[in-house]
């Protein structure tokens, strides 16, 4: 694993970009814990100040420091991504691996249900849930709800990976030599699946962050909790575009784009490393 990271770091600019930005954002999230202001409270600082030494990104019309609010928002958005992605990972891994290994009727039933979740437009369904729960949507609850719906694509991905691993020569050799199934899975298959899970998880976090932004802009989350989405919501509510308060509206938009691009670069560079053809070359020639 550490060799993989080292190789990617030395030879893939996207990996360097992605991992550095992500590290930076995680550090920001940690620093935000020491925020001098309570971000749920309004009017802790004077309103609508332009950027200055004291408030590097200025303040907004709600009387909040934009820099600190952004930092807290980054923390909350990442936390949300983590909660939702972890939950959907558990579902996707369990279903994907079970369907892949068990096969037969179990596989068919699970995959029919799975494909239904791929086909059903999830966005209106999430709106239905969020509009009923609305104010009680804390970061955790929102994360759980998004997580409950975001597993289908990846379950399919993991299953197909298992199916192709099952067909490989080394699996057959291992079975013929009397190795236990559990041991084959742990020692032979997991090394292939873990990086795949990692790449899929990053993509899932991207989706979750995008979904949060979208639900928040519809006012369908706890609007008092600073996240990237609620920051945009409040800026729009106060007509930040028409009043040209660019420091307020553009900060969360740019942060969102940079964060998502960084995550995406990271996941493409990992999945390119995983590409069967690249990988085959690497294995064959070692």
């Amino acid at each position: 694993m550490s060799r993989v990271i080292k190789e990617l770091f030395n030879h893939d600019k996207r990996f360097i970009f992605g991992s550095s930005i992500l590290t930076l954002f995680i550090m920001i999230a940690l620093i935000s814990l020491f925020s001098p202001y309570n971000m749920k409270a309004w009017n802790t600082v004077p309103r609508d100040l332009p950027p200055s030494w004291e408030h590097p990104l200025g303040t907004n019309s709600m009387g909040q420091d934009i820099l600190w609010k952004t930092m807290v928002a980054i923390k909350n958005s990442l936390l949300l991504g983590l909660i939702a992605a972890s939950l959907s990972r558990i579902i996707a891994i369990v279903l994907g691996l079970l369907a892949g290994y068990k096969g037969g009727y179990f596989d068919r039933i699970v995959m029919t249900i799975n494909d239904s979740f791929i086909i059903i437009p999830l966005f209106p369904v999430l709106i239905l849930i969020a509009s009923i729960l609305r104010t009680s949507l804390s970061i955790t609850v929102l994360g759980v709800i998004i997580g409950l719906f975001g597993w289908a694509w990846d379950a399919r991905l993991f299953r197909s990976q298992i199916l192709s691993l099952k067909e490989r020569e080394f699996t057959k050799t291992a079975i013929l030599s009397g190795m236990k199934t559990s041991k084959i899975i742990v020692t032979e298959h997991l090394p292939y699946i873990i990086p795949l899970i990692l790449a899929a998880t990053i993509n899932n976090v991207i989706w979750v962050i995008g979904m949060e932004v979208t639900l928040s802009m519809l006012g369908l989350s706890n609007l008092n909790t600073p996240t990237i989405g609620t920051m945009i919501y409040w800026a729009l509510q106060y007509q930040a575009i028409f009043l040209e308060k660019w420091n307020w509206i553009l900060t969360p938009i740019i942060i969102c784009i940079v964060l998502i691009l960084a995550l995406y670069m990271l996941s493409t560079s990992i999945s390119e490393y995983l590409d069967p053809r690249t990988r085959l070359q690497l294995i064959k020639k070692e």
């Binding site: 190789e7 990617l8 030395n10 030879h11 490393y273 690249t278 070359q281 690497l282 064959k284 020639k285």
Partner: protein
């Protein structure tokens, strides 16, 4: 003058990934000549560079395959050309398919699965003879199919609807319809069952006789070489290790590797157990020093580990690359 002359051909797969550079030395200094009308066989275990040799010789070179040095000279009587020095891709295409053609390993996938068989013939004929009237096209194909004992009705089929043997016959029909000067057959019998194999070999033999073209037969199956070829080259790890008339190879093999291959064949009336070739061919990335066969060779000496044997003529028409057999 021979119809095909390959001189010191070196073709490697070169890839670079994450700072590691790989060179697969698939063809590493190969020279041979093929005479007009001859059936020339190339034998060797899988992974010895046979297929890459075919690609390079027909000028099918695209990354990661690279030709580092060597010449491939064709003499078609009316034209002499070095296919590797043809810079223009178009010129190469004008040679392939019409002057030299391929009978590929006829597995499921050499014919486009979403196009009817007829289209494959149309594409080929249109590419080399230009568009022609439908009736003329049909007449031409029908005549050729008849000669091969194939029925016109399969033209409407899709590849997946045909059996493996049928698909193999079709690839033979495709390869010969334009009466090429040279035909390269790449493992044409692999993946077929034995009965079908026999039919395919006979078909190739028959059409070769009729069209009087030159055939280069590449397969790991020595029985087919014995049955079909005039001369035979044995390849090992990217090099030719022995080349002679088929009779000579089978009756007086000189190279220990040839001997090993022959010993693994069953023979009529011989009841002793067959010895399979011990060890495995080397990875073409990390080749052994000296003679590439020395780690598996029962006769290897210290010298074999250090010196690379050259392919030298032992007697007329019999070349061997072995330090112990008079090699330098």
């Amino acid at each position: 003058m021979p119809i095909l002359e390959v001189k010191e051909l070196r073709a490697y797969y070169v890839t670079e990934k994450y700072g590691r550079r790989y060179r697969v030395k698939a063809v590493d200094g190969v020279s041979f000549q093929v005479n007009k009308d001859e059936i020339y066989g190339i034998a060797g275990e899988s992974g010895c560079g046979k297929s890459t040799l075919l690609k390079a010789v027909s000028g099918l070179i695209k990354p990661p395959l690279e030709v580092l040095e060597g010449e491939v000279i064709y003499n078609f009587g009316d034209a002499v050309l070095n296919i590797l020095s043809l810079k223009d891709d178009k010129q190469r295409r004008q040679v392939r398919g019409v002057r030299i053609s391929h009978i590929p390993q006829g597995s499921m996938s050499v014919l486009n699965p979403v196009r009817r068989i007829k289209k494959a013939f149309q594409d080929l004929i249109q590419a080399h003879l230009g568009s022609m009237e439908r009736s003329r096209f049909e007449e031409m194909v029908k005549k050729h199919l008849d000669a091969l004992g194939l029925d016109w009705s399969i033209m409407q089929a899709f590849p997946h609807q045909l059996s493996g043997g049928m698909r193999q016959r079709l690839t033979i029909a495709l390869a010969t319809i334009l009466k090429p000067d040279i035909i390269f057959a790449d493992e044409p019998t692999t993946a077929l069952d034995v009965v079908v194999q026999r039919g395919v070999v006979q078909l190739i033999k028959k059409i070769k006789k009729e069209q009087q073209n030159t055939l280069i037969m590449v397969t790991h199956d020595l029985a087919i070489h014995a049955n079909l070829c005039d001369r035979l080259a044995i390849m090992y790890a990217g090099k030719i290790v022995e080349e002679a008339d088929v009779d000579v190879i089978f009756n007086q093999p000189q190279h220990p590797y040839t001997l090993m291959l022959l010993n693994s064949l069953p023979q009529l009336g011989d009841k002793s157990t067959r010895v399979s070739a011990p060890g495995a061919p080397p990875s073409l990335v990390h080749l052994p020093s000296g003679c590439r066969f020395h780690p598996r060779c029962p006769e290897a000496t210290v010298r074999c580990r250090e010196e690379i044997p050259e392919l030298l003529e032992l007697e007329k028409g019999h070349r061997v690359a072995c330090l112990r057999k008079g090699g330098r």
